[in-house]
Amino acid sequence: MNFHVSYKAQRRLLIIGFLIIPLVLLVTFSLYPAIKLILYSFTSWNGLSTSYPWVGLHNYMEIFKNPALFGVFLHNLSYFVGGLVQNVIALGLALLLSKKVKVRNGFRSVLFIPYMLNAVAVVYIFQFMYQDNGALNTILRAVGLGGLAADWIGNNHVINWALAFVSLWEYFPFNMVIYLAAIQSIPEDMYEAALLDGASGWQTLWYVTLPNLRAIIQVNLLLTVSGALEAFNIPFIMTNSAPAAATFLTQTMNVAFVFNNYGLASAMAIVLLVIVVLVISIQRKIVGGGDDVV
């Protein structure tokens, strides 16, 4: 019993064999829903009915015409600013921790804790902290900074920054770990060469460390930007998507599950996707970096 299968055919069989399962999964759970999503975005489907009335581009026009839908991107802005600060903090801490600091591993573990905590629990913790007589205001008043105490959730000018801070606190350790890993993978000889050339600490940072981190900064910024545009779990859990804290994604949820307009909600999901892609392309142009990491 000799199977005369050529090497080429064997290879093809193997490739198909290995690819079939991931491809089926990809098509079923990613491509098919995505295509359906696009199709729904042109209908006024109510999520239940068996009829899918075609409305053309009406949903897309509605998104840009209705300030209640598109205007909430202003709230996302605070998450974006928070994300930038988050990256600066993460990079700074990573630089510190890459040096020979005492109990370095201890610091690393402690700083990584916020990221390991249950995300929902984190939001609840902050919900209590932000209460009028919660921990934050109590501490501020106790140390004589009572003037800074605020109605963190109640004040419309403060709430989104307060929520963005939760996001910052929760996610900076992740950025930090990535930066740390990247810093440690920079070859030691580059630093030695710089040292021989008489470079100062700042020069080493500016001309050796940061250029080597460019690709990683790019990755982290991408995560930050898309995370900011898609901020969802914090306003959803903390305020139940109240109007003052609504983000584009919580509005999408509202449109779908409160107002039963799945067509419009699908269009919003597509618009969000397009915006994320656009913003990331712009960011790549600005930050530069030729490597195709992302």
Binding site: Y40, S49, G154, N260, A265
Partner: protein, 426 residues
Amino acid sequence: MKKWVAVVSITGVSALALAGCGTQSVSKPDTNANQTGAASQTAKTITVLTNRTDMQANGMLQKYSEEFAKTHPGITVKWQTFVDNSTVQAQMNGGTYPDVMLILPNITPNELPQFFVPLDNLGLDNKIYFKDFQSYNGHVYGIPTFGDVNGIVYNKTAFKKAGITSVPTTLNEFYADCAKLKKAGIIPIALNYTAKWPLANWTDTLPDVIAGNPNYLNTIVNNKAPFSSSAPMGQALNIVHTIVKNGWAEPDWKNTNWANSKTMEAQGKVAMMYLGQWAIPQIVSAGTSSSNVGFFPFPATNHGKPIAIMTPDWELAVNKHSKNIPAAEAFVKWMVLESGYPNYAGGLPPVKGMKSNVPQIQQLYSQAKVVQGVPSTTALTQLENNSQIDINGGGAVQTVLNAQDFATALQQFNQQWANAASLSGQ
């Protein structure tokens, strides 16, 4: 990681939630129905949908299954609990959903025949209230599990402490009592802004009460400016706005906790909440005696006896595609007539002549003209959805309370309403 969270939320959650449920409903082959008809002696299993996760946890549901099996041998009842309507909705769209269903609030009357069998022949017609609440073209599709009536649930000790001897019967008295309570260091009324759903009464019941007409909300589809301050809806929003403006709500009213509110009312730190009778047992179990909790109709106007509107809570329906329609129907009948669930839930029994075991209901009845509610028309639901004004879920109240200027917020609502009306008119 954030990226993956994000990517999952786009392609995964939205796409799955929005798109995954898009399969056409497959009608079951007729052979199934014939087979079950012939083999009626064999064991049958029906699945029943319920929102009472608490009753699954405490074993009550299992007890109901056992009780039902005693009188209906051969029928096994399995329960499916849910917390989020959208998961059930996805099942319905996919065509496979429990045999005994609850009618989701967003199903409009014209959609009922698509999903459920008519229940005209259960023989309940004259025995129950709200019999045609969920009906279309003269057929009944839903049987209420129990009825609700809304009013102010109050702590009697708190009232006494503030020197209030009798419950307010006019709006002015109500405001005066709020001021007295505040002076006594008690939070006059908890709104539960964060939970959102407790705000719904202010827009989906109070306007009817102000108008003295349980059908009032249905008529606003023909009103170009139902949110004007002179219209009942505008007046209702003005009442809740007045409460917040005068500091009669929770001091931290935008950051509230529902479970906490119940405890605070039980302890007398909060005096009132505008809810349904179902909240009374919950507040009692949060730490007070039943005799300390009272219930009175919302004194919505300054003249005459207020009306109190009885409305059905969740309604039971039978899946059109069920293989065991007779068994499911028998269960619906049993649940309404024999299970004792209405009283367990602290609701008004839907069966005429059956007594409620919530003593406070008598107090409310003695002070109000009790009328039966009217179901929302398809037109009203559609206009709400198109204008994106959340009258039924409390979102509209949140928007108004959150707005910088009350009058502008009402104007904005009127405009949204008029725009949506003109679109649907085309």
